[in-house]
């Protein structure tokens, strides 16, 4: 099996190209069917998000497979394959595993640590699974990639710190109030930015929204979007007394909120803190307001500073995520190696040898008092039986494994001889260790083609 990946992302292609190469969920089954009906492609998954389109495939020949995928993408979207190639990245072999794990861990995302990508990859895999476009290799690879995504999110803080201005405002508000449940926000000015910030705050539990704007109708319009209340601009400071968070984003050229006014507001609040977010340029809130007790003022530069610090932290966490990915890649490789024919044949023979020795020991105990010559004869006899029994199947297994879907024969052989059971389910620690040791010895010492009949005797 040869893993290949053909794709493009925000790093390699502009939006004008990315939007042409999408595979909507409703049409993925059809696309997957067109792709897997090509002889050289045995498995495929199409990941299509706003930032990337990637086609993961298992091909019998990597070069032919890549050509087939490019041809399919170009044909499907009616594009010139040569023109398309400029924007594509092509990854083959083990690097595909690393790439997928990095994508799922959101290390390859536009915003490192964003949470959506894991769900998007899951969805892509489910489409492929339901369309019958995946088999053992991709079932294992993608399921393991979901574990990678989960591990990275739980074992690192990669997704914990806000990396947008509006989320940074939410994060800071939570550092003051802990929970935003039941809080009141006062929005001064009905601009887009204050609307976005209010939206995030409302999503995080803010209960009531008050909107003040010089044009009352616009205040009403914005308040209606949040089921809030529009207030007359002149009564701004009366209502500020009841607010916990103030978002200001007016187009005024001078300060709209000054220190004496806020000092007056704070007098009747009983020590309740007030968090002011000034996202206007020029600023609406006098920075001196921050000197008041229990008042916290953040302007756009402060919020940017928070975002930058958080991005740096995410980069640090990304390095930890890379080490998790290394561990998971090693695990996947171990699984894939188990599908290789040489260790499988070695394991079959090792198992046969263990059985032969155990049975011979039992028989010798029953017989008792045999001469050296008789012992050698019995030993040679059992060896010969085992070798002759295994020679045919192992030779044919080696031959079959060279076919395009050869790993399925290996898989069947492992299943018939119960090798995975012995190794994975800890059926017998001694047996498992012996099998592994024998298999390793054979792999290390004998060339693959010469291994076989002489094993153990």
């Amino acid at each position: 099996m040869h893993l290949i990946l053909v794709g493009l992302s925000h790093k390699t292609a502009p939006i004008a190209i990315r939007e042409k190469l999408t595979f909507p969920a409703t049409r993925q089954a059809e696309a997957l069917s067109l792709l897997t009906c090509r002889e050289c492609i045995t498995e495929a998954v199409i990941l299509s998000t706003c930032n990337r389109t990637e086609i993961y495939a298992v091909a019998s020949d990597p070069e032919v497979g890549v050509d087939a995928v490019i041809d399919f993408v170009a044909g499907y979207h009616d594009l010139d394959p040569h023109e398309l190639t400029r924007y594509l990245y092509i990854i083959k072999g083990d690097a595909v595993v690393r790439h997928l794990f990095r994508v799922v861990a959101s290390l390859d995302s536009m915003v490192i640590g964003e949470a959506q990508i894991l769900g998007q990859v899951k969805e892509a895999y489910e489409h492929a699974f339901e369309a019958g476009a995946t088999s053992r290799a991709f079932n294992r690879l993608f399921r393991q990639s979901f574990e990678v995504g989960k591990r990275v999110r739980t074992e690192t803080s990669i997704g914990e710190n806000a990396v947008s201005i509006s989320y940074a405002a939410v994060e800071l508000a939570k550092k003051v109030f802990d929970s935003l449940e039941g809080r009141t926000i006062l929005v001064i000015g009905a601009g887009k930015m204050s609307e976005l910030t209010s939206k995030h705050l409302v999503c995080n539990g803010v209960e009531s929204v008050l909107v003040a704007n010089r044009t009352y109708e616009r205040a009403v319009e914005l308040a209606e979007r949040f089921s809030g209340e529009a207030i007359p601009y002149e009564k701004l400071f009366d209502h500020m007394r009841h607010a916990d968070i103030v978002i200001s984003s007016t187009s005024a050229t001078g300060y709209v909120v000054s220190k004496p006014e806020v000092a007056d507001v704070m007098r009747g609040r009983g020590g309740r803190p007030l968090f002011l977010i000034d996202i206007a340029v020029p600023r609406d809130i006098d920075p001196a307001v921050n000197d008041l007790t229990d008042v916290f003022v953040y302007d756009i530069d402060d919020l940017n500073g928070v975002v930058e610090a958080n991005l740096e932290e995410r980069m640090r966490e990304a390095r930890r995520a890379e080490s998790i990915i290394d561990e998971e890649i090693a695990q996947f490789m171990r699984w894939r190696e188990s599908l290789e024919v040489v260790p499988t044949v070695a394991a079959i023979r090792a198992k046969a040898e263990v059985i032969r020795q155990a049975e011979m020991e039992k028989a010798l105990k029953r017989l008792g008092g045999l001469s050296e010559k008789e012992l050698q004869t019995i030993d040679a006899l059992t060896c010969a039986i085992v070798n002759k029994m295994l020679h045919g199947p192992t030779a044919r297994l080696k031959q079959a494994s060279e076919a395009p879907d050869g790993y399925t024969y290996v898989e069947i052989a492992r299943s018939l001889y119960g090798l995975d059971e012995a190794e994975a389910k800890h059926a017998s620690g001694v047996l498992r260790n012996l099998l592994n040791r024998k298999a390793r010895e054979v792999q290390d010492q004998s060339p693959a083609s010469e291994m076989g009949d002489s094993f153990g005797c």
Binding site: F177, G270, Y298
Partner: protein, 275 residues
């Protein structure tokens, strides 16, 4: 039995020290498994600590209330109060504050343990004094935890005011949460302190030593009570900012420490304890 108590004590100190390291590592790295191990070690340390106190009491026919032993009991109460608080607030970050404090108390108890106990006053040989001491020890644990939380509040508030978030800013809980912990810890400690003082006063009235109310330790204890009463009055009456009440809590706990030092270094007077 005494040897077993000493061994258990050192085991407890060792476990608290290991938990301190793990809590610190958890605080810096935010890796959850470390906080679990830290809590486990603190729990194990607490069991050893309890066993040590119990065995020592059996070996010595009662719990001695000298200075070192009071510190050991204070550390025990502090860990117990921390577990209660953690159960209520569900934030392990406070272990980073409380467990090191308990560890320091354990170590200090051994550093000042050289002096032998003086003769026990007949005033002290009464059940009321036992309860009086137990209540004061628990109250002091609550005051210490409240003051540590108040200190964290002032640090976090400074970070927020400074508008340059540091690592400490991200690791410490929200202002509301820290303030809640401080308030709850002091609100729990205050009735215990009041009860402890009342029992002491009742015992003093019963025995009526001359000028007992003029003893500097009695007066200082009254001042501690007044400071925390003001704290609670201002906080629950919403008549002061959280920053002001946090400062009051710190003043209160400084007085608690001064009281403990005076109790130990001024052996004259009616109310001699902790030696």
């Amino acid at each position: 039995m005494l040897t077993a108590a000493i061994v258990a004590f050192w085991f407890a100190t060792l476990l608290y020290s290991a938990a301190t390291v793990l809590y610190a590592y958890h605080f810096l790295s935010k890796r959850r498994p470390y906080s679990w191990y830290a809590t486990f070690l603190t729990g194990a340390g607490f069991l050893c600590h309890t066993a040590s106190v119990g065995m020592r009491s059996v070996a010595e026919d009662g719990t001695r209330l000298d200075g070192p032993n009071q510190l050991i009991l204070l550390a025990w109460a502090l860990v117990l109060v921390y577990f209660v608080v953690e159960h209520l607030i569900k934030l392990k970050v406070y272990g980073t504050i409380a467990v090191p404090a308990a560890t320091v108390l354990m170590v200090v108890s051994q550093l000042i343990g050289g002096r032998t106990a003086g003769s026990v006053s007949p005033l002290v040989e009464n059940w009321k004094i036992g309860i009086h001491v137990a209540l004061i020890v628990f109250a002091n644990a609550g005051f210490i935890l409240g003051a540590l939380a108040s200190l964290a509040y002032l640090v976090q508030e400074r970070q927020l005011k400074g508008r340059k978030p540091s690592m400490l800013f991200k690791r410490l809980p929200s202002l509301a949460n820290i303030d809640l912990l401080a308030r709850r810890a002091i609100a729990f400690a205050f009735p215990a302190y009041t009860g402890g003082l009342l029992l002491g006063v009742v015992r003093a009235v019963e025995t009526d030593p001359p000028g007992w109310w003029q003893d500097p330790r009695v007066m200082l204890a009254g001042l501690v009570w007044a400071v925390f009463a003001v704290y609670l009055g201002l906080h629950y009456g919403e008549r002061a900012s959280a920053r002001t009440t946090a400062s009051i809590a710190l003043v209160g706990v400084v007085l608690v420490v001064v009281l403990a030092v005076i109790a130990r270094t001024v052996p004259a007077g009616f109310h001699v304890f902790g030696i």
